[in-house]
Subunit: 439 residues, 2 copies
Amino acid sequence: MSIVVQKFGGSSVADAESVKRVAQRIVEYRQAGHEVVVVVSAMGDSTDDLIDLAQQVSPLPPARELDMLLTAGERISMAVLAMAIANLGFEAQSFTGSQAGVITDEQFGKARIIDVTPGRIRSALDDGNIAIVAGFQGVSQTAKNITTLGRGGSDTTAVALAAALGADVCEIYTDVDGVFTADPRIVSTARKIDEIGFEEMMEMAASGAKVLMLRCVEYARRYDVPVHVRSSFSRKQGTWVTDSPVPEAFLPARSAKAAESETESTMEQAIISGVAHDRSEAKVTIVGVPDIPGKAAEIFKTIAGQEIDIDMIVQNISTREPGKTDISFTLPKTDGSKAIEALDAAKAKIGFDQVRYDDQIGKLSVVGAGMRSHPGVTATLFEALSDAQVNIDMISTSEIRISVVTRADLLDDAVRAAHAAYGLDSDEDEAVVYGGTGR
Amino acid sequence: MSIVVQKFGGSSVADAESVKRVAQRIVEYRQAGHEVVVVVSAMGDSTDDLIDLAQQVSPLPPARELDMLLTAGERISMAVLAMAIANLGFEAQSFTGSQAGVITDEQFGKARIIDVTPGRIRSALDDGNIAIVAGFQGVSQTAKNITTLGRGGSDTTAVALAAALGADVCEIYTDVDGVFTADPRIVSTARKIDEIGFEEMMEMAASGAKVLMLRCVEYARRYDVPVHVRSSFSRKQGTWVTDSPVPEAFLPARSAKAAESETESTMEQAIISGVAHDRSEAKVTIVGVPDIPGKAAEIFKTIAGQEIDIDMIVQNISTREPGKTDISFTLPKTDGSKAIEALDAAKAKIGFDQVRYDDQIGKLSVVGAGMRSHPGVTATLFEALSDAQVNIDMISTSEIRISVVTRADLLDDAVRAAHAAYGLDSDEDEAVVYGGTGR
């Protein structure tokens, strides 16, 4: 008997009708002989409604109480889903994050899972139940306070439970068909990716692909949990995120062999898995930093002191003034004012000339494990962007990723150009094969 | 430092504005130097909304899941109330029933409190917090499932916490000014009762006075917790339910002495505390029961087997057939069809002729501790009802209560007549003093 963990997001359980449809789908897995654990988010926009309510009584609600409030959302959806399943004649029991053994630290609003002790879930399964678990929430280890995991928390709950239960697969149901080679709203010819490795998926997630959050993929990789991202509105296979072969039991029965060979050939061809983009960042440029050791450290210590995560960093010799240098970095727009304030306060001590802030930027990333062994990938990108009249502001690379910062209003053009240049458009038969030198 | 437990019902926290007003009121007690524990119900009609949602996915939702669902209501109100208090500059922490140590049995939907272990609440108070506790909910002792306490559960939570914490007073805030000598919607001259003993209040509650539920008063009596029922919409003193003197610290400062002497004189005069009524019952008459030992037992065993609580019972010799008797009893209307079905099924075995069902009845009860030592009380009632042309169907009495069943459409007239006959109308100066013989 295999264990399946299924996660349904808020849009999949937006109202009573959706809940019933989801219940039907869950029950089919139970009928097929699987043990089923379901992780569910709050219904539709109910979390936003709760935040609105909080704002009405307090402009800055205490984090502990905000978490207590928000966890009411999943409490509702999980109980209603359990009822809908019971109404189909199957046993179902719902469990809060705390009851399911999701132990976290006590960073309210963005708690990290530090342990999962799913004893009650295991018992519920042993008793023949379908177990429904509240996503997004847990309980702090020592003070036993209710916590929430922050954005993408329900996906992480699902993967963490799958890991703790030794599940065969973690299915993430969402409102799109899977992970695409680019955002289909920008690139109409984008294709669904059938299979992608953990590392590539992590780079995609970190680069702005919104289907899965980075922390969820990190968790899946650490515990080697095969993740299947798919639509709750269709029966189609979605995107498998795994470094191992897809478990055959979970491939469509009639074409398991065909699908396998398909996947294999796809794997061989895919040098570039996809093109991700991100509009959530801003660029800070610190002009006229004394070019002496320790200055960069002082700057980034100032930023780190505000608990701000920075992304790309570029340093150039200042063209205007000898002995000085300019340092640029990107950071989440939401942290922009906090960073500027902190830097302004440290200006005299660090001794730079000025800070510039630019939130009209976009980031494009090309991700592909094939990049490691195929030179020429970078050149193709630069050529494509140049042909599309897109100027590059900043560049950063990893083993399997190239990211560039462009003007925000040119980002869509850049994404389309890159997607086409790597032969990812769905009307093309083959992905581009690289030769030549260098990256 | 005294401990005050305050309970606010759903109508007192119906929206953000109400929550802020309640927060202000709570904070005043903290400022006055009290330790404050607040028990709160779900906001406004939110419990009904959740029940509607459940009905949309399942006509008969599993009780465990319904309780899980409903407890989301208080989770929201308690967190929002804690936020509103924090916004006034005071420390507040919210706790679920489970966190507050409200341990129950596992009768979902109508769980009984079997223990209260308020360790976390005590710690929160020690840390200077105002503790906000979800009413109406607890956790089952062995299986650790979430339970709800059923109707009036939040009042019971408040009294139980007050008992466990050794509170000086339990304030029940509601949408009326207190307990009245009769329902003011029926008797315009009804007066607020300033003080009433536990036993009388229990009889009032059992007889249909809806301000406090019977189980809550029972709990208060068992642990001798002074209860103050008052309006959340005014600052007026409400009704004190206690057998001991009202704690002086909680009487209005400027007129503490005056209030005391007032209360004393009221206590002396009050032979009848109030007139309660109840429209929720129906009458079952079993016609032609063989008048041999054991038949009544068979009938009531049949009813008890359906877990139906019956109220009044009357047995008469059948006027039509010798050797047979008629038995009538009252029960909640909601249990009517269940009772009739069970009796019909047992008809042959018990050997009665037929069952009649009448749900157009009303019950009037006159309650007063003074009844014990003052004869003539019953005669006054019967005379008053007779003058008002109200016929009496059934009669039952306790030490401090007389109840009669009338036609439903005459109940209001009956209540007004009784209220006037005992001198309870607010324009009269003195309550009636009884002499003579009998009851």
